[in-house]
């Protein structure tokens, strides 16, 4: 909790007036940003990738200059006195700014020297920071050999060496497991108690809720500035949770989204979460298809609800993609994806340890876990990128060892950040994927035309994929993955960093496809994405520590203190549980 303080001692640490920054001729990366950042609190810079968060932080460090407007940090103008600013701030860039071939201690020494930390204070400061970051045991380890969470803590320690007055953290949460992220957050909160100003940039909207003050950026524009409660207040009493929707909740959601008055809706475990227009009651789900009526209850709003509301609501519920997709009908009970004791060893390190699960047709199954936990290894074994050291995997009934090529013909693969050939244009990418999946002639033309139409590629067909905005890249990646109407879809971190509207559109398509019998395996470290899944396997340190539906997971950790845990709460609790068991 932020410590209460009076407004008088809170002289602005950063003053942004009409700050505009352009790169090239495209629309500005930052457009006339105004605002004030105060000391002693955590200020969140929130927004999807490409919103302008990193640019804004770089402007505050004085490493980059605004094209228009002024940035004043700790009373100095960034244009005139960057040196004075740099002497007084701590900055942790993305990827933490560590030298990977230096040890933890060498990194600390380097930054201590660069920041001019007096020799006499070193012993105490190092001890304090190592204790604070829990890195004392690893001082001799190369920074490159640390886990994401440990790197992040070391990065923070380096930025804190000479207690800065203003701490700038650029996406400190990326690639870090929720437990480390919580640890970090606690550390940073302690700092604010000493009057240090903290700027924390993030694409995770749930992190925004914990900040004292939020700058919400989207496409270079400042959409909102204020306490997050003010933001969520916009949709107070308009957010409903529809429970008891049973089996067909995806279909229900699709129809709900097309109703008037529904601004936004997402799947949340077994339930549907809806944001309504002001003053409208939640729709009563008709019993026309014989299903039991759903129960609607008001639920506390989240930052994301308000964000989507502010952007004018999510897309409709129809997926043209799914409508044109042929249906896969149930066959005699055989699961579409099977993992039987999948194990992968690299030397004496076991990256995945006897992972077992089945995925029936038409289910979305999630592999959830922090980076490096083994979810990617498991995922890669199942789509044939890695040979398992032991165990077996089957996809669409084909053994991955013997009939890998047959299996691959039936699966579609999408890794959001890495799917496309950046130097090829949109049509060339589609042509390529059509070709490698063996589409030719009229069928190829027909499918490509269809994708062009559904995803509206016509106006951008000759743009190189690497120049597309993130949202379009994501659409193109999806289009490429489903061109050949796969039975199974493998999605690797499909929507991290994407703006919420694009994410909803994406999931609308996926939900539609699943209704047609497509089976989906998704990896994510993104708690929101986990909520879309029917079932989740929680992977931690190479093992599956929990398997079940999101609601079951949450129920398992619910307690009197935490009656309605979030997915992240569940994750953290389950991991701590597993660690406790292991220690015992």
């Amino acid at each position: 909790m932020p410590t209460p303080r009076t407004e008088i001692d809170a002289a602005p640490f950063v003053r942004l007036s009409a700050v505009t920054k352009r790169f090239g001729a495209a629309s500005p990366a930052l457009d006339a940003i105004e605002g004030v950042i105060l000391g002693g609190r955590i200020t969140g810079l929130v927004g999807p990738d490409g919103a302008g968060k990193t640019t804004l932080i770089r402007l505050m460090t004085g490493l980059m200059l605004a094209d228009e407007g002024t940035v004043e940090v700790l009373g100095y103008d960034t244009r005139r006195d960057p040196g004075a600013i740099q002497a007084a701030i701590g900055y942790m860039p993305q990827r933490f700014g560590l030298y990977e071939d230096l040890t933890v201690q060498e990194n600390l020494d380097l930054y201590a020297d660069l920041r001019g930390l007096p020799k006499t204070e070193r012993g105490r400061t190092f001890a304090e920071l190592l204790e604070f970051t829990d890195l004392a045991r690893f001082t001799a380890r190369l920074a490159g050999k640390l886990s994401g969470g440990m790197k992040q803590k070391l990065g923070l320690a380096c930025a804190l060496l000479r207690k800065p007055r203003l701490l700038l953290l650029d996406e400190p949460g990326v690639g870090v497991d929720p437990i480390s992220r919580r640890d970090l957050w606690k550390m940073v909160e302690n700092l604010t108690a000493e009057g240090i100003g903290v700027v924390w940039s993030t694409a995770y909207l749930e992190e925004a809720e914990a900040c004292d003050h939020v700058f919400l950026l989207n496409q270079g524009r400042l959409l909102f500035s204020g306490p997050p409660q003010e933001m969520t207040g916009r949709v107070e009493d308009r957010v409903f949770r529809l429970s008891g929707v049973d089996g067909r909740r995806r279909d229900r959601l699709a129809r709900l989204l097309d109703q008037d008055g529904v601004i936004d809706g997402v799947i949340q475990g077994e339930a549907i979460r809806l944001v309504m227009k002001p003053g409208l009651p939640p729709p009563t789900l008709g019993t026309d298809d014989g299903a039991a009526p759903a129960r609607a209850s008001v639920t506390p709003p989240r930052f994301e609800d308000a964000f989507v509301d502010m952007l004018g609501g999510g897309p409709g519920g129809r997926s043209r993609l799914a409508e044109t997709q042929r249906a896969f009908t149930e066959e005699a009970g055989r699961p579409v994806i099977e993992a039987r004791g999948l194990t992968k060893r690299f030397g004496d390190f076991t990256a995945a340890d006897s992972i077992t699960f089945d995925i029936p047709r038409g289910e979305i199954f999630g592999l959830l876990g922090p980076n490096g936990a083994g979810k990617s290894t498991t995922f890669k074994m199942l789509c044939g990128l890695l040979k398992p050291s032991a165990g077996e995997g089957r996809v669409a009934g084909f053994d991955l060892r013997r009939d890998a090529a047959e299996a691959r013909n039936r699966l579609g693969y999408m890794a959001q950040k890495f799917s496309l050939y950046g130097d090829l244009n949109v049509i060339q990418n589609l042509n390529f994927f059509a070709g490698v999946y063996g589409l030719s002639g009229a069928r190829k033309r027909e499918r490509i035309d269809l994708m062009t139409e559904i995803f509206d590629f016509r106006s951008i067909h000759d743009m190189s994929a690497k120049d597309l905005p993130l949202g379009l890249k994501q659409r193109l990646a999806l289009a490429s993955a489903v061109l050949h109407e796969p039975e199974v879809l493998f999605l690797d971190e499909p929507t991290s960093g994407v703006d919420p509207i694009t994410r909803r559109e994406f999931w609308t398509h996926i939900n539609g496809l699943v209704e047609k019998g497509v089976t989906v395996l998704v990896t994510t470290h993104f708690m929101d994405e986990a909520e879309y899944c029917d079932r989740i396997s929680l992977i931690y340190r190479g093992r599956s520590i929990a398997l079940g539906s999101p609601d079951e997971m949450k129920a398992r950790v619910a307690s009197n203190d935490l009656p309605d845990p979030t997915m992240e709460d569940a994750f953290v609790a389950l991991v701590q549980d597993s660690e406790a068991k292991e220690a015992a």
Binding site: R408, F418, S419, D423, Q428, F433, G435, V436
Partner: protein, 370 residues
């Protein structure tokens, strides 16, 4: 079905190289640079030589020698020195490549029919040029000697060495260099394009995408091999055109033979590139790897210096260098019209190298997938 997949892959590879500014730079920059620099600058001919003369003789014959040297197109300047110290200084500081010292009795000796002597001092630090200049000076001195009374008398006794240059009558250096370049550009391009193609995909993460597609490993391999070979053939063609139409190198042999063996050569090169690519994780490593292979390959190919000049224990190493064989073929086809049997004899090793590199690249490639 397999053809549809392979075609898609080949088209994609070509597009990826041609649309990527880096790729285009690789395709256009080095070839032009190489053609210009090598064919014009990298010459072992010796021209524009500076020479100093210390002439202590006051007669006619020393003047004759100096004038003949001055008049030769090889020499740019002839400076007269006043003292041996000046000669020494000029040689020491490399102001001149050679010095000629003529003694005080030179003309008198000649007139008297006594054997006369000139001293030629050459800079051994630049021994290649020095040797050639020494030949030139020797010939000029010989020509002057033939004019002397004694020389005239002995002229009919003197043995004349009559030189005839086959294949390249005027010893035009470009006739040698440009065919060499045809072979080396294919090495350069084939190696770099292949080495980069896998490394690029690995770096960008799209390689996984290929592996999860129904493409089989051998199809991916073929898809990675054929485009660089096509690009290599394209460059070979451009260079051949430049050789014939810009540099006027005679093309005496059969183009068919040249292209026939070029395919095996390119296969060997591309196999090597793929091998390097499979070993490297990043594009930068691939470039360094290609570089690490290319420098020795160029130097140990017979391009710069004949293989027979190398120590005998080093010569066998050149046997695994594909450039060595193709150089013989290109130069042979261009200038000598070598017979089919010889082309085959040189192509067989290329074939062997291609089989070894391709299969080991394929092996490494498969192993990396697992």
């Amino acid at each position: 079905m397999w053809w549809t997949r392979l075609k898609a892959l080949i088209v994609k590879e070509l597009l990826a190289v041609l649309r990527d500014p880096k790729g285009r730079t690789v395709l256009i920059g080095p070839p032009i640079l190489q053609l210009l620099v090598f064919s014009y600058a990298a010459t072992l001919e010796v021209k524009n030589v500076d020479l100093i003369v210390l002439n202590r003789d006051h007669g006619h014959w020393s003047q004759e020698i100096i004038q003949q040297i001055g008049g030769s197109p090889t020499f740019r300047s002839v400076t007269l020195a006043a003292s041996p110290a000046e000669v020494r200084f000029a040689l020491d500081t490399q102001r001149v490549l050679a010095a000629v010292e003529i003694g005080p009795t030179f003309s008198r000796d000649i007139e008297a029919g006594r054997p006369a002597e000139v001293q030629v001092i050459l800079d051994g630090r630049r021994s290649n040029a020095s040797q050639i200049v020494s030949g030139y000076v020797g010939r000029i001195v010989g020509a002057v000697a033939a004019e002397t009374p004694a020389g005239k008398r002995a002229a009919s006794d003197l043995i004349q060495v009559e030189a005839r240059n086959w294949f390249n009558p005027n010893l035009t250096f470009q006739w040698f260099m440009v065919p060499n370049l045809v072979a080396s550009i294919a090495l350069l391009i084939g190696l770099i394009v292949t080495a980069l193609s896998v490394a690029r995909e690995r770096e960008l993460g799209t390689f996984d995408q290929l592996i999860v597609s129904p493409l089989r490993t051998h199809e991916i391999l073929l898809g990675k091999l054929i485009p660089p070979m096509m690009i290599g053939l394209f460059h070979i063609t451009i260079y051949i055109l430049a050789a014939v139409f810009v540099f006027g190198v005679p093309l005496r042999g059969s183009l068919l033979l040249l292209y026939g063996s070029a395919i095996f050569y390119l296969a060997a090169v591309v196999g090597l590139g793929l091998f390097i690519s499979a070993l490297s994780m990043t594009q930068q490593q691939a470039i360094l790897g290609a570089f690490l292979f290319m420098v020795p390959a160029m130097l140990l190919s017979g391009f710069a210096t004949p293989i027979e000049n190398m120590p005998s224990w080093l010569q066998p190493v050149t046997l695994i260098n594909p450039l060595r064989y193709f150089l013989v073929i290109v130069k042979g086809v261009f200038l000598k019209d070598i017979p089919l049997a010889e082309v085959v004899r040189q192509t067989l090793p290329l074939c062997l190298i291609a089989i070894v590199t391709l299969s080991s690249a394929a092996w490494l490639f498969r192993r990396r997938l697992e």
